[in-house]
Symmetry: C2
Subunit: 343 residues, 2 copies
DNA sequence: AATGTGAATGCACACGTGTGCATCAAGGAG
DNA sequence: CTCCTTGATGCACACGTGTGCATTCACATT
């Protein structure tokens, strides 16, 4: 059995209330007893019980984080950013992978609810609306990251995908490409949509007609999906001269397919990624991509959530609080997988 | 304020004790009241408070997991395996990254302690001994994964690195290589040591003398370290014909350096990785590596930890319980980055 | 009718912590 | 000397849940 404040109280010859106050730095307690008690607590190896404290204060000091798949480096960096922002605060995080599976999502939300997490960061490509409502019903504030359905959330941190996609598309067009394919992930509804919008905007303003045959949308965005998408694309008679991939993982898959088929990148075909995960700098050729400020996004989301939690604590009303959304921009990263169109 | 069993009790016209029993399926309560109460709880959106329950039962139903860096795909898969094993149980996990930083480790252990996690899985390349003792002092059972200092732990799941390294080395030797370099990570003490041992064993039994100049040990094992190690290696006049890398990340870095220098892989130099992370299948050439059963390792660790927790619950004495260690073996994966030695 | 039996439920306390209120001692003002 | 203020501490309850024990009721047994 762990040491409790009662044990300390007994040993110090005071009441447990005094110990509680001393440890929390209450001004009601004289400095000398405070010091004596703290020293004793240290010696006895006392650790406050988060459960008991949470029960009393109805603050768990835990945030829930939902990602599509931990192990995906993109989410890894987001979580990293969240940890950065939480450093120095009393908060810990529950990280859970939804695998875009409704049943799993349900379990996660239940677990978050039972543990009375103080807030949730939803950073998954898609998340069922009913679970959002459930969380709201529990009174748990939510901040969404790059939400696929922003209308479901009142607080949001997002990357400006339209802007990013435009930069990438403009880059390809400036290189003389006109037959540009797009390999996307339809499960990431809003994000995919925004990137397509940015892509189309640039194509239109350059006066290039879109070829529906070159627009591919897959069910996921892992490397293997890039392989799949690129393969069907390369089977077409009239191949594109450039491929705009939804993210770096797809691009890595696409890159491999091209090289296996003996198509030189970037001489014969240009390939772009998106997100700038670490590995994209180490492919050969190194991937041209759009550098999304992932850590910053995670940190901002955590910051916003903490604000929300504290505001609520001070009597503010969630329902009436103004919705907030931050849109962050990244930067085009031209590396080696893109070159002037030669055909 | 969330719904409590008292709210349910009031509405159902029974005592809160009856509600508690009904929800927990106690045989003391008649079937009809049980059903009625459960229905009511469902309607009212009741969620048990993990804090209150934990306070009473002194079981948090939370496991702590410490990894070096979440975002490293190797640990991502380990965590995946842990999640697999926990599916269907009432357990959730706290995942924390130590970044191999002692101060961070201390915070993590404190957080785990305050939350009274039922057990901890240590899956980081190195973890300070004092923190292990602290956890033990708190009475929290620990299972280590691939521990760098197995003597510190009584329960361990490990990959047979000596065996694995031997397979890799044997493969390279069979291809005719004699000047084989090793790029390692000295921070991963035991693991690195075992892989070196396996490597040496095969070299010796093949009658090949080791060249100390070809043994490089770095401070970390990320891609950039592979770049660093390979660069210094290639500056030597008398280059190796094969490079045995500590893990896939280092190998990916090494691969890139070779190719940037115009050294063809595997024609001029063979490179091997270790672990078989997803990306290793998509480099060009695809990496020859040793497939470590990462998910299985994670799952086995979780299973062992649950056993430990339950045994303790049933009055067994931790101190006298026999230490247990499982050694799992993987399989050599020959892909394209290795070939017959041509010099 | 008195007693025993078993099933179903309520009472009351405990877990570890925080906090409003009462209590107590010391000392200054009247 | 009494009253009041100030500072320091204890008492007792609360948070939401689980559980040993007592209680109640119905029914069967003597």
């Amino acid at each position: 059995m762990p040491v409790t404040i009662k044990d300390i109280a007994r040993k110090a010859g005071v009441s447990h209330a005094t110990v509680s106050r001393a440890l929390n730095g209450s001004p009601l307690i004289s400095q000398e007893t405070t010091l004596a008690i703290r020293k004793l607590a240290e010696e006895m190896g006392y650790l406050p019980s988060a459960a008991a404290r949470g029960l009393k204060t109805s603050r768990s000091h835990v945030l829930g984080v939902i990602v599509s798949r931990i192990g995906n480096p993109y989410f890894g960096e987001i979580v990293q950013g969240i940890e950065d922002a939480l450093k120095g605060t009393a908060y810990s995080i529950f990280v859970a992978s939804s695998h875009l599976d409704a049943a799993v999502e349900e379990n996660i939300v239940r677990a978050f609810g039972e543990h009375r997490v103080d807030g949730v960061i939803v950073a998954t490509a898609s998340f069922s609306r009913s679970q959002v409502h459930l969380l709201r019903r529990y009174g748990i504030p939510i901040v969404a990251i790059n939400s696929s359905s922003p209308q479901d959330y009142r607080f949001c941190i997002a990357h400006d995908d339209v802007y990013g996609a435009r930069q990438v598309a403009r880059h390809l067009i400036a290189l003389g490409h006109r037959r540009i394919a797009y390999i996307g992930n339809m499960r990431a509804a809003q994000i995919n949509h925004d990137r397509i919008v940015g892509f189309k905007q640039e194509m239109e303003s350059a006066g290039i007609a879109l070829d529906a045959n070159l627009m591919i949308n897959l069910q996921w965005s892992e490397i293997e999906n890039g392989v799949e998408g690129m393969t069907t694309l390369m089977r077409r008679k009239d191949r594109p001269t450039a491929v705009f991939c939804f993210n770096d993982l797809i691009a890595i898959g696409a890159l491999q397919v091209a090289q296996r088929m003996g198509i030189r990148v970037p001489q014969e075909i240009s390939i772009t990624g998106f997100d700038n995960i670490t590995y994209s700098a180490y492919t050969l050729p190194a991937l041209t991509t759009f550098d999304q400020p992932k850590r910053l996004i995670g940190a901002e989301a955590a910051g916003m959530l903490l604000d929300l939690i504290n505001r609520r604590g001070s009597g503010g009303d969630d329902e009436r609080a103004a919705p907030a959304a931050r849109l962050l921009r990244g930067k085009l990263l031209v590396r080696e997988s893109t070159a002037r169109c030669m055909s």
